[in-house]
Amino acid sequence: MYNLILTGKLEPGTNPRDALAGLAKLLKVDDAKAREIVRNAPVCIRRNTDAAMAERVVAAMKAIGIRIQLEPVAAAPAADGLAGTGVGTGVGTGVGTGEVASTAGAANAVSVAKTTNSAASAKPARPEQPSTSLKVIAGGKPAAANPVDKAQTPDSQQTAQAPHTPAAPESFKGFRYQLSGQPDYCFISVEIPAGETIKVEASAMASMTTNMLMKTRAKGGLSRFMSGESVFINEFTADTVPGEIGIAPGSPGDVKHLYLDNEEVFLQNSAFVASGMGVVAESKWQGFTKGFFSGESLFLIRCSGQGDLWFNTYGAMIEIDVAGDYVVDTGNIVGFTSGLDYDIQSVGGYKSLFFSGEGLVCRFRGHGKVWIQTRSVPAFASWANWYRPVKKK
């Protein structure tokens, strides 16, 4: 027998709106009710279900992109204690099987302390009594809990429960953020829980609450300096209370958010905007042949590790799944995943090299994603070149 817990997490790549609509349809409730359920996640949606039925529900929910956790009922009596929940800090409630909890706990051992921070807002999260606890939540939850925001940032909801292990209360995974003004003039606002830090490209901070402390760091040393990117990355830390920071990328365009889970992403040198502290951004020498001829820069920025990553474009963003090979103009590359190999080459014959106006292109091979931008800074700059005043002799 199992209890089915709606964790509030989405399958990767799911549009939160679709998921919400799917949930409403599946549970035969209206949108507002479905939102209510998601807002109160994690919540038990079905109790004492046999294995076969549980499987079916999980499959149906997975189809619409919603994750369900199975909790063996036998474990229920042990779950009498309160699971810590950080409301409004991006920390989810712990509910789940011991197995899930222990992996999550191991991966995020650092952040155990954080849950203590939010212990003040801890709520009884026992799924066995959803009706009562939901009321408590509804009353005690800070206004920040806009259901749509929450649904849009599935990554900020980490769920795990530790009925048996005290170390289980989980932790901080990803910031809660919002993108506005997409796709032409995207602006990012990120909620920073107390004590947390975010790395932001120098001069990209547009606004912030007064409790944010700024520290400037020259990260990456000389190579970063040479990559053309400013040497400085600023670190913003929320002191004792949660804060908020608004980040405006330098060029008008779109912003993409990724949650890196020990993955690697390469960015063109001006694309980096902000990241969590777990992400290491470093310049990577492309080599002379790749670098010089790309006309861009000798360096790429390699982002790896674990945490949020935001990067921006000039113009709108197009995501291309590469399987095989794909060609992108060097001025339009934003970034690509590590599964791809690339080289720089000319297009067509000698005539194309000089006269096509395309110059050199980048040919990607392998499997992965490439992000491209619909406008290119070099192309705009060469257009503007004609309008430069002419120096008198």
């Binding site: 103009d329 005539k351 931008q373």
Partner: protein, 227 residues
């Protein structure tokens, strides 16, 4: 050739899907990405219809005399097109009509469309803007780009458009360069200078912004270049 416009209207890109054997002709420099099997050929003329004279005419017209022709090899292919400036795009289907396009607004065309520099004589020179006109004839799709949004104006009778705001117009319209105001003095002082006056029946597509005005507004902020 299928054309899909995405991220309209501010940062539009055109996604062109080509079947085997189809060829797409684009303005030089318009390609931003393409599938790996795409072959590119650069010529001074319409594919298969070489003419030095036409190339020379294009040179005189001020346009880059080179065009790129894209053709997928061994299967379907896709091609993404973008522009240097922010703005919208327009897909127009020609059916043995003539369309006159302002040179920098031309982005791409299907194989059945023929391109020619339309020599508008002193009209072009007089218009003051650095404008040349392309005459497109034949059958097939044409992709045009603009700086800012594109809006069509149905002309029946007379209509006046500032020269920098014209994207394209149907050949059924006659156009002449004229002054915007009643007197020449007022026209120039008013900053409008010369305008295009269309007469007849047909459609004019206009762009909401004038690239020349934008460029001139940047001038004071740019570093001087050597002549």
């Amino acid at each position: 050739m299928e054309v899909e416009l995405i991220h309209r209207p501010g940062n539009t890109a055109a996604r062109v899907s080509l079947q085997p054997g189809e060829v797409c002709t684009t303005e030089s420099g318009a390609m931003i990405a393409m599938s790996g099997n795409m072959q590119i050929e650069t010529t001074t003329h319409q594919k298969g219809k070489g003419s030095v004279l036409k190339a020379l005419k294009r040179l005189v017209g001020g346009e880059s005399i080179f065009m790129n022709h894209f053709e997928p090899l061994g299967g379907k292919g896709e091609l993404w097109l973008g522009t240097a400036l922010a703005g919208d795009m327009l897909v127009h289907e020609l059916d043995n009509e003539q369309l006159i396009v302002q040179g920098s607004s031309f982005l791409a065309s299907e194989q059945g469309v023929e391109l020619d520099i339309g020599w508008q004589g002193f009209k072009s020179v007089l218009s003051g803007e650095n404008i040349f006109w392309l005459t497109l004839t034949g059958k097939g799709k044409v992709v045009l780009s603009s700086f800012g949004a594109i809006y069509p104006v149905e002309v029946d009778g007379d209509y006046i458009v500032d020269t920098g705001h014209i994207v394209a117009f149907e050949q059924t319209l006659d156009f002449s360069i004229t002054k915007a105001g009643k007197s020449w003095l007022h026209s120039f002082l008013g900053g409008e200078g010369l305008v295009c006056k269309f007469s007849g029946r047909g459609t004019v597509w206009c762009q909401s912004h004038n690239p020349q005005s934008f460029g001139s507004s940047l001038t004071p902020n740019l570093i001087a270049r050597k002549a």
